[in-house]
Every structure is written in structure tokens, then in C-alpha cells.
């Protein structure tokens, strides 16, 4: 009973490094208006390695442009590191970006007339980072970090695309910005180069950099600490995405819209054993315990579920009454997304893959419950 990434998003008490509030972006052209981002809200915390995924035209690059200050929101607010970036002029924002943000593009975008070393030094010159004479050394260190020191004096044209992207990462690190933003950084690379680049991202994430990366490669989203999905300009609830990851994005969006947030204090029973269940639950935050009750009303916790996990599906899919008690964990309140029975069944029917997977999970959980029940009985008689 784990979510697909296996890595729950770290939620810290620190304030978010990126706060996107009610951001709307509408483009106008001869055909009329087209809203690409629809009241998007998103918080990203320091140290997170976030992937933003979505289909082509879903608005993921536009969302990224809102974070980098490359584009203006039609309405809403983007605060990065405490700075409302759209209150600055374009020129000041550029300077701010140079100091606070490292950007990595799909097409690397190295300056073709500068050597790799010079490319890395360029942002330092622009934002006056460090002493002028120290810049070559720092740039060389960064090229070493990405394994390009022997190509330092080559022009981008003279090295491979993978090496160009590595150099672009070194450039993004040049001003020691706390935040790295990457737009499909491996989209134009062969798989070996892509692997190398992603290794670099993982290293940087491990060193504490906050990384926001747009990608459409599902294999990469498995390796990030958080996965934000955008569909038709709206963010899919991350709990829904983790719990029902095999749904299509529109289906996830439908669930996101219909699911309701509910909260339970510690140890409060959510589903009572033997009663009818008509809700599917997905855990946003906190823990729930699956408890089997004996004839003497003694409790046995057979499973503990955490954020991204779900419950209620066995009863909804099989029909019948609850086979166990489910209650909020003892350490704190639990926040859940609840989806009514009909809605859940409709979504499952629409997604054969999800139905099949859930079926397997149900079988698996039933077996686990049966063996837990047997173990409990053996203990009782032994």
C-alpha cells in the first residue's frame, strides 16, 4: 500500500520558496482569448526536487515561465524567496533572476560565440557575482563538477549535446542561486546523456538546491521528490495523482474537482468495521491505522497508511461491509480527500487499468487481512 513514487513529498515547517497564488494567464490572438493557466496555486518548499508534468499544451511551460519571471501573469501573484517578482521592471527582474535563479533550457541555449568557460562566467559578469578575477576559477570548478573541465575552452559547437547541457547546468549554478528551474532539460538528449544530466540534478537536490523541472518523461518523475501535474491549465491534486496515478490527466482532474477535503483528529474512527462504506479516501497528510477488532473488542493494527495511500476501495469494489476499522493515526490529525462511491466507481470503470490495478490491490489487501487475522487468532490461541 505505497504510492508510485515511493517518496512522499517532504513537507517542512519552513515557508515556501515559491508561492504561486491564483495565477491566471490568458493569451489573446486573432482567434480570441485562450486561458492557459486557470487560477493556479502552488507552493514549493526549499530543498524540494519538483517535476511539473503535463501534456503538450497543458500549460506547464507557461507555469514555469511564471516562476522564472519570463512571462507575466494576467492576474495573480508569484512570490519567490519573499519577492513579488512581477512588481519589478523587466530589466530589474532580469538582474534579480540572474542572482536568484538558475535556468536550464531544453535547447541548452549556450552563447555560441563563447567557450564553455566563458558561458559559465557570463551570468557572474551580468550580476557582478564574486570578484572579477575569481570568476574563471569558480567557473572552472563548476565545469569540473559537471565533468567538463577538459572542454572548458571549447565552443559549444565543438562538444556533444549532452556536454552542452552539462555546461548549461554549470552556468545555472554560476551565481550560486538557491533555485534551479529546468525546462525539459533532457528532452533533446540521448538516453545516456539524459541519465548523466539527471544524475547531476539528483546530486544538486541532495546538496539542498530547490529544483523545479518541467518534463514529460514519466520515468524522471519517479525520481523527483514531488510531482506536480498540470492539465488544461489547472493543477491536479497531488494526492489524487499519487493515489490514482493510472488515471488519465482529465480523469485525475475530474477526481480533483469532486474530491472533498476532510480532517480527522487522532484515533478518530473513519470507517467502522462491519458497516457500509460509501466513500473512497486518499490520504493527503498524516497517518491512518487499519485495525481489526476481535470478539472481545481488542484492537489489532494490521496496517498503517500514510500520505498518498488510499482506503475504502475494497468495500466499494467488492460491495458489502467494511472488513476492518480505519482510524486516524495516534500522532496527529489526518487530512483526507474523500470521493463519493458513485464517483469512485465511475472513474474506475472509465479506467480499466486503474480498475485492474485496484483489483489486484484489493486482492492483495484481502490476503494481507486474512493472514493478519490468522496470525491474530493463532496468538489468541497460542
Amino acid at each position: 500500500m505505497t504510492n508510485r513514487t515511493g517518496k512522499p513529498a517532504p513537507v517542512t515547517d519552513a515557508s515556501p520558496i515559491i508561492q504561486i497564488r491564483e495565477v491566471v494567464k490568458t493569451f489573446k490572438n486573432a482567434a480570441g482569448e485562450f486561458t492557459v493557466l486557470k487560477r493556479v496555486n502552488l507552493d514549493i518548499y526549499p530543498g524540494q526536487f519538483v517535476s511539473i508534468v503535463g501534456k503538450s499544451g497543458s500549460g506547464k511551460s507557461t507555469l514555469l515561465n511564471m516562476i522564472t519571471g519570463i512571462d507575466h501573469p494576467t492576474s495573480g501573484q508569484v512570490v519567490i524567496g519573499g519577492t513579488d517578482i512581477y512588481k519589478m521592471t523587466e530589466s530589474r527582474r532580469s538582474l534579480w533572476r540572474g542572482r536568484n535563479l538558475g535556468i536550464i533550457f531544453q535547447f541548452f541555449q549556450l552563447m555560441p560565440m563563447l567557450t564553455l568557460l566563458e558561458n559559465v562566467m557570463l551570468p557572474m559578469d551580468y550580476v557582478n557575482h564574486g570578484g572579477f578575477d575569481e570568476r574563471p576559477e569558480r567557473a572552472m570548478d563548476l565545469l569540473k563538477l559537471v565533468g567538463l573541465e577538459q572542454f572548458a575552452h571549447k565552443l559549444p559547437l565543438a562538444v556533444s549535446t549532452g556536454q552542452q547541457q552539462s555546461a548549461a547546468i554549470a552556468r545555472a549554478l554560476a551565481t550560486d542561486a538557491p533555485l534551479l528551474v529546468a525546462d525539459e532539460p533532457t528532452g533533446n538528449l540521448d538516453s545516456r546523456s539524459a541519465e548523466h544530466i539527471f544524475d547531476l540534478f539528483e546530486q544538486l537536490a541532495a546538496q539542498g538546491k530547490t529544483i523545479v523541472m518541467v518534463t514529460h518523461d514519466p520515468s524522471l518523475t519517479l525520481r523527483t521528490s514531488r510531482n506536480v501535474i498540470i492539465s488544461d491549465g489547472e493543477l491536479i491534486d497531488e494526492t489524487v495523482a499519487r493515489a490514482l496515478s493510472l488515471l488519465t490527466h482529465p480523469q485525475m482532474m475530474a477526481v480533483t474537482r469532486r474530491a472533498e477535503r476532510v480532517s480527522f483528529p487522532p484515533l478518530r474512527t473513519i470507517i467502522r468495521q462491519g458497516e457500509h462504506v460509501d466513500t473512497f479516501y486518499m490520504i493527503i497528510h498524516g497517518e491512518v491505522d487499519v485495525v481489526l477488532q476481535g470478539r472481545k473488542k481488542e484492537d489489532a493494527v494490521v496496517a498503517r497508511l500514510t500520505a498518498g495511500d488510499f482506503f475504502g476501495e475494497i468495500e466499494l469494489m467488492r460491495g458489502g461491509r467494511s472488513i476492518a476499522n480505519v482510524r486516524a493515526g495516534p500522532d496527529g490529525p489526518v487530512e483526507l480527500l474523500s470521493l463519493p462511491r458513485d464517483e469512485f466507481l465511475r472513474v474506475v470503470r472509465e479506467s480499466p487499468l486503474t480498475e485492474e490495478t485496484l483489483g489486484r490491490i484489493v486482492q492483495h489487501r484481502l490476503k494481507e487481512n486474512q493472514s493478519a487475522d490468522r496470525r491474530r487468532k493463532l496468538r489468541l490461541f497460542g
Partner: protein, 793 residues
């Protein structure tokens, strides 16, 4: 934007060639036509005083159509209340109504003066501050002053034409002569011939015969002057100048064609994708070619629409300016068919030729290449996978790496500017070509100006004296010395002789008037520029040094050769001892020693002309002394004709040369304009092509200021390189231009002088122009939002 640039590039070339070819046609036609329309005299005889009977003799001579007699004398004039005297040549007409030769064209007020009235030639207005109806004061030889109203302004296209140094004219009737204490006699005859007005040999022949006849009748002809009816005396000079202008015009067309080629290449590159699509849906290379050729023709037609009317106006404006400077009237505004044809040809053919290579290349692009964007975006677009780095790029990086190893780090934004400069090398070469040409011409014009002034300066060594005194009668040298040395500031005086004569050919025919000046052989008031032989010596008898203009008649003349001349009515043979450089005035100039000429004229120890040296040599001091000497000598009863500052006539010559330089400068500025337009276009195209890169720099922290600086430094670097090349190229340009101008003006090649002024001024100007040419592209670059840039993805 790019379309506008192509049209503008074509229009500049069409306009320039239109202005110049139009002006050329108008001037070459109108100059002679307007000159001829005013019945210029073919024969001018300057004579000792004569009466009506001599005129009758001339009129009755076979082959003479019209003849008029006039009295011409020098007089000083000023506006009442001022103290600035100006020398005028006053021309007395018997009857203005019967004016048939050297016609006067009324400009303002009355065309003919009444008794005790004066009419001014319009040129005189620049020297005398008076309006029609105003009074003028005339100083008579006895020092008395007479007033006359100025009742009109006329234009006299014939008299004085061709003489840069001539005094301006004013006109009175013979009835006014008495008022000015002048005799009622005439001293000049102006005649036209009935046939062969454009046959100078015939005119000379007729003139010589007439002169003989008059002299046999007891009249004395001091000098004669012959000219053709349809040849303006300055036609050669003007044609030479127009020739230079035409050459510059062709150059501008050439330069604008490189601009067109540049812009079309960029346009075609932008259209590569469209070409790909056309080919994808079945279009053939030939159809694409035809489509773009039609587009170029449309550009040409648009440019013609703009440039032809402007060119017509410009041509007439330039012609009117030149006509004003050379004192002739244009026949009226008109479109010159030849100029129009040239404009149409230039407007349609030059863009076609210039655009042919880019268009052919564009039409040959393969669908794959076009659609993939490879051809269109080899810069700043999607990065190429590993490719070849050019040798030049490798060289550039090696230089910076080598510098870096020595601890010299160039800021990267500057490195971008430097390397961007050399990225589009074909475009750079074309841009540099236009700017370099503009610069070289600009610098050359300054060098030529200084060269001309230097030559005038050298000529001023023929006028070392501070004050020149001319008298009506000869005075003893000792007497004059006594008189003038009393004037404070005068340190030395020399008496010079002058004798006029004629240069003859082997058969005794008059070739040219001859003015023989006779300073003391050891005079320090003249420093001749000898090109061959030696200067005059006291013992020289029938020997003289002649000006270089003699080569026109005797191209192989060498010192030691003998020339046939007529002097004081006698044919003699004199030996040429030296040949010197000088500007000739109304005939050939020669120097012989005073020691001999004073005996020849029977005025030993006497002179009509005196040259004085004063303690100070500036123009103001010279003027003051001339005025003082004028007053002192008149008071003592000397019959003074004029007292002038030594450099007065030179200043007039300098003014004339400056007019010429202004023409050249206009052309230089025009070429510089074309050059900077080329640079603006190049920078615009560069910025357009590098939009993505500019967006990237913005994404990584570049502010507006840095982006603008990066673009502007690139532009200024191109400007600086063009300056260096222009400075080198200006040397042969200066040589060529100086030679053409000096041959046209001085009829002799002159030594070239180089001045830093042109180089420094052009450096400043080209940097300013480059900065200006880059500022709009730079601002556009800075205004680009990154999203716009990345929207190319």
C-alpha cells in the same frame, strides 16, 4: 521594417544618382545655354581711351555682329556711415536700352540706371551692405566722395566669368562719368562675331586682325581676350567637379547595392521556411526565383516612386546652387529624361543584380533544410549538434584563452560584442565596404581641402608684401620710399613694374594674354615655387620665368627654350629661364627682372606698383595700414589707384575654393550616410537574428543597459574597423581627388598635404554614427521579452 530598409537602400542610390546625373545634365546644358543667351562677347579689347569713331570701325569690320564700347574703371565704394571700402569695377554704358553684348539680366529694382544712379551686379551685394534705393559713397582719385543711389541689381553672366579673383561690377551711364571726374571716353570694346562663335581660332584670327586695324588707326590695345559663345569660361572646371560628383554618385549606387544585397540576403533567410513550404506543396525552384525577382522589382518600383521626385528636386537644387555660385541662370525646373532613365535603370537593375545571388541561393534551398530551419537558423536557433568550428572562431578563442593565461580577462559581455562582430563575415565585409568608402572619401575631402589651402598658402608667397599700392602714374622709387616710410609700421618698400603682352605661336598668332610682373630680381617679397629652371636675376635681358600654364601651349617646353611674345606692340623672342607654379589670372603669368623691364618701358627707377612690408602681417593690420597709406598718399597728391592688403585677393580665392570643398563634403556626408544606413541595417539584422541569444542573456541576468551596450559596442567596433580601413584607403583617394581638383582649378597637379582633422573628425563621426545606427536595434533588443524570444521554440 526589413522591407522599408530594402526600399530605402535602393532609394538612396536612385536619389543620389538622380541628383547628380540630373544636375550634371542641367548644368552642362544651362551653363552654356544661359551664358550664350546673354550674348557674351567673343572679343574683348582693353584699350587706351578712345571715342565713338573707334567703335564705328569695329562695328564696320567684316565678321563682327555686334560691338559695344564701355568705360571700365576701378573705384572704391562704401555704404554711408561705414568705414569699409570695397573695390568695384564701375562699367559705364552709353545706352542701356541698346545693350546687345554681355546682356544684363534685371534681378531687382531698375535694370538700367539713370543719370547719377548706379546698378549693382548681384555678386557685389555680398561685399557692400546696401539695399535697392539706398545710397552709396564713391571715392574719387582725388579723395573726394560722391554719393549715388543704388537703384537696381542685375546679373552679368559674362563679364568676370571665369575669374575667381575679379572685383565685382557696378553699372552707370556715360552721363554719370563727369560726376565721377572720369573722362567721357571709352576704354573697352565688347564684340560678338557674326559666324563661327564657337570657333576659337576664327575668333582669335578676327580679333588679331581687328586689333591690327585699330592700332594702325592710332588706337592702343592693351590686351585682348577671346572666348566662344557656348563655352562658359568655367566650363572645364565645372565639368571636372561634376565628374567627381558623378564618380561619387556611382560609388553611392555601388554602396547602396551592397546594402541591398545584405538586406535581401537576410530577408531571404527569413523566408527560407516559406520557400520550403512552397516547395513542399509543389512549387519549383524557378517559380520561387520568379516570385522573389518580382518582389525585388516591386521594391525597386517603390523606391523609384520615392526617389525619382526627390531626385528631380535635388538635381535642380544642386544645379541652382552651383549656378548661383558660378553666376549663371538656369533655364527653369525640369525633369531630365536621361537622369530619369538612369534612375529607372539603377532602381530596377541594381537591386536585381545585387539580389540575384541571395535569391538564387534561396530558391535552391532543399525542402528538408528549409523546413528543419537549418538554413534559417544557423545562428541563435536550435543548437547544432557537434559541428565544425571555423578557423577564425578557433583563432578568436585562442586569443582570449592566451590573454586569460596571462591574467588578462576580458569581460564576457565585451567578448560577445567582439565575437558577434565577426560572426556574419559576408555581411560585415559589405558593411565595412560602405562605411570604409564613406570614411575614405570624407577624410580625403578634408585632405584635399587642406591641400588646396596649402597651395593657396604657397601661392601667398607670391604675395609676401603686406600692402600693395597701385598708382595711375609712375613714381620714383626714392620718392615713394620717402613718403611711405613715414607711415608708422612700414619697414620696407619695393617698386615693381608690370607689362602686359601676348604669347604668340610660331606664325605670330596670339595664343594667350601675357602678364609680366617685374619685381627687383633679388626681391624677398616673392618666393616662387619653381618646377624647373631658375628664378630671375638682375642681368637677365629678354629672359623670363613663366607659369606652368605654358604647358597648355608648349607641353614640352624646357628652361632655355625661347618663346615668341608681343610686348609693347613689338614681337620679340624671350628665353624661358624657369617654370613656376601659380594660378593664372586673365592670361599667362610671367616674371622678369625689374632691372630689365624698367628699361624696356622707359621707366627706370620708377614704378606704378609698390609692395610694402609692415611690422605686423595679419589681415587686420594690413587693412588698417592700407587705409592709412591710402589717406596719407592721397593727401600728398599721389595719384593712388588702390591700396590693398597683400592677402586681400587671396582671401577671395580661398572663399571660392571653400565652395568647391562644400560640394565635395556634401558628397562625403552622403556616402557616410549611406554607410551608416548600411550599419543600421546590419545591426538591425544582427539583432533580429540574435533575438534568441538576447533573450537568453536576459534570462541569465542581463539588464537593459548591458544588452544595449553589447549591441552598441558591436556597432562601434565595426565603425572603428571601418575607420582604420578608411584611413588607409583615404591616401589613394586623396591623391586622386587632389589631382582631379587641382587640374581643374589650378591646371597643375599640386603637392598633397594630409591633415589629422579629417581622420579625427571621421573617427568621432563614425563612432557617433555607429552608436546611433546601433541604438534603435539595441533598444529593440532590450525591449524583447524572453517569452517572445523563446516563442521561437
Amino acid at each position: 521594417m526589413r522591407t522599408a530598409l530594402v526600399v530605402l537602400s535602393i532609394a538612396v542610390g536612385v536619389f543620389s544618382i538622380g541628383v547628380i546625373s540630373g544636375a550634371y545634365a542641367i548644368i552642362s546644358n544651362d551653363m552654356s545655354a544661359s551664358y550664350a543667351a546673354n550674348a557674351p562677347s567673343n572679343i574683348e579689347l582693353r584699350m587706351a581711351d578712345f571715342d565713338e569713331s573707334v567703335l564705328e570701325t569695329v562695328r564696320n569690320t567684316n565678321g563682327i555682329a555686334e560691338a559695344e564700347a564701355r568705360r571700365v574703371f576701378s573705384i572704391r565704394v562704401r555704404a554711408p556711415g561705414t568705414n569699409r571700402w570695397t573695390a568695384l569695377d564701375l562699367v559705364a554704358f552709353d545706352d542701356f536700352e541698346a545693350n546687345r553684348v554681355n546682356l544684363l539680366i534685371p534681378v531687382e529694382g531698375q535694370g538700367a540706371p539713370g543719370k547719377r544712379q548706379v546698378v549693382l551686379e548681384r555678386d557685389a551685394l555680398t561685399r557692400v551692405d546696401v539695399e535697392v534705393g539706398g545710397l552709396l559713397e564713391f571715392e574719387l582719385p582725388d579723395g573726394s566722395i560722391k554719393s549715388m543711389p543704388m537703384v537696381g541689381v542685375v546679373q552679368d553672366t559674362a563679364m568676370g566669368a571665369g575669374d575667381f579673383l575679379a572685383a565685382p561690377y557696378a553699372y552707370i551711364t556715360t552721363s554719370t562719368l563727369q560726376y565721377l571726374h572720369e573722362p567721357q571716353d571709352f576704354n573697352r570694346i565688347y564684340a560678338t562675331v557674326s559666324d563661327g562663335g564657337d570657333d576659337i581660332l576664327h575668333i582669335r584670327d578676327l580679333g588679331a586682325g581687328l586689333k591690327d586695324r585699330l592700332e594702325k588707326g592710332g588706337a592702343y590695345v592693351v590686351r585682348s581676350r577671346f572666348s566662344e559663345t557656348h563655352t562658359h569660361p568655367l566650363a572645364d572646371t565645372t565639368n571636372a567637379i561634376l565628374g567627381i560628383l558623378m564618380a561619387l554618385g556611382i560609388l553611392i549606387v555601388f554602396l547602396s547595392s551592397s546594402l541591398i544585397a545584405n538586406t535581401l540576403a537576410a530577408l531571404l533567410q527569413q523566408h527560407t521556411r516559406h520557400i520550403g513550404i512552397i516547395k513542399l506543396v509543389g512549387g519549383r525552384g524557378r517559380q520561387v526565383l520568379a516570385m522573389y525577382l518580382a518582389l525585388i522589382m516591386a521594391f525597386g518600383a517603390l523606391a523609384l516612386l520615392v526617389a525619382v521626385p526627390l531626385g528631380g528636386q535635388g538635381a535642380y537644387g544642386l544645379a541652382a546652387f552651383i549656378a548661383g555660385e558660378l553666376n549663371f541662370t538656369l533655364l527653369g525646373y525640369r525633369i531630365v529624361p536621361t537622369a530619369l532613365l538612369i534612375q529607372v535603370l539603377v532602381g530596377l537593375l541594381v537591386p536585381l543584380i545585387a539580389g540575384l545571388v541571395p535569391v538564387i541561393n534561396g530558391s535552391r534551398v532543399t525542402v528538408l533544410k528549409a523546413i528543419s530551419g537549418e538554413a534559417a537558423r544557423d545562428e541563435g536557433g536550435r543548437p547544432k549538434v557537434e559541428g565544425r568550428v571555423s578557423r577564425f572562431d578557433r583563432f578568436q578563442t585562442r586569443v582570449t584563452v592566451a590573454l586569460a593565461r596571462r591574467g588578462i580577462h576580458i569581460p564576457r559581455p565585451l567578448v560577445i560584442s567582439l565575437r558577434n562582430t565577426f560572426r556574419r563575415r559576408g555581411r560585415l565585409i559589405l558593411t565595412l565596404f560602405t562605411l570604409t568608402m564613406g570614411g575614405a572619401i570624407f577624410i580625403a575631402v578634408f585632405n584635399v581641402r587642406v591641400t588646396l589651402h596649402d597651395y593657396i598658402g604657397a601661392i601667398s608667397r607670391y604675395f609676401v608684401s603686406d600692402v600693395s599700392l597701385d598708382f595711375e602714374a609712375p613714381y620714383r622709387l626714392s620718392e615713394m620710399e620717402q613718403a611711405v616710410m613715414k607711415v608708422e609700421g612700414v619697414t620696407r618698400v619695393e617698386g615693381w613694374q608690370f607689362v602686359s603682352g601676348e604669347l604668340l605661336d610660331e606664325t605670330g598668332m596670339v595664343l594667350e594674354n601675357l602678364n609680366v610682373f617685374a619685381p627687383p630680381a633679388k626681391s624677398e617679397l616673392i618666393e616662387p615655387i619653381l618646377v624647373a629652371g631658375r628664378w630671375i636675376e638682375p642681368g637677365d635681358v629678354r629672359k623670363f620665368a613663366v607659369s606652368e600654364a605654358i604647358f597648355k601651349y608648349y607641353p614640352d617646353l624646357q628652361p632655355g627654350d625661347r618663346l615668341k611674345i608681343r610686348v609693347l606692340g613689338k614681337d620679340e623672342t624671350w628665353e624661358v629661364i624657369g617654370i613656376f607654379k601659380f594660378v593664372d589670372r586673365e592670361g599667362l603669368l610671367a616674371y622678369a627682372p625689374y632691372e630689365y623691364v624698367s628699361r624696356l618701358t622707359n621707366y627706370a627707377n620708377r614704378a606704378f606698383m609698390f609692395r610694402l612690408v609692415t611690422v605686423q602681417h595679419d589681415r587686420a593690420y594690413q587693412d588698417a595700414k592700407a587705409e592709412e597709406l591710402d589717406a596719407v598718399l592721397r593727401e600728398r597728391g599721389f595719384k593712388l589707384l588702390s591700396a590693398e592688403a597683400g592677402s586681400a585677393s587671396l582671401d577671395t580665392a580661398v572663399e571660392s575654393l571653400d565652395t568647391l570643398v562644400v560640394f565635395l563634403l556634401i558628397m562625403a556626408v552622403l556616402t557616410a550616410t549611406v554607410g551608416s544606413m548600411g550599419l543600421t541595417g546590419t545591426m538591425g539584422m544582427n539583432v533580429l537574428e540574435r533575438t534568441r541569444e538576447i533573450g537568453i542573456t536576459r534570462a541569465i541576468g542581463a539588464t537593459d543597459r548591458i544588452i544595449m551596450l553589447t549591441v552598441m559596442v558591436e556597432g562601434m567596433l565595426i565603425g572603428a574597423i571601418s575607420w582604420g580601413l578608411g584611413a588607409v584607403l583615404s591616401v589613394p583617394f586623396t591623391m586622386l581627388l587632389a589631382r582631379i581638383v587641382s587640374l581643374a582649378v589650378f591646371e597643375t597637379p599640386i603637392d598633397i598635404v594630409y591633415t589629422l582633422n579629417g581622420y579625427v573628425l571621421w573617427l568621432g563621426l563614425v563612432l557617433a554614427l555607429s552608436a546611433l545606427a546601433s541604438v534603435i536595434p539595441a533598444r529593440n533588443a532590450a525591449r524583447l521579452t524572453i517569452r517572445e524570444v523563446l516563442a521561437y521554440e
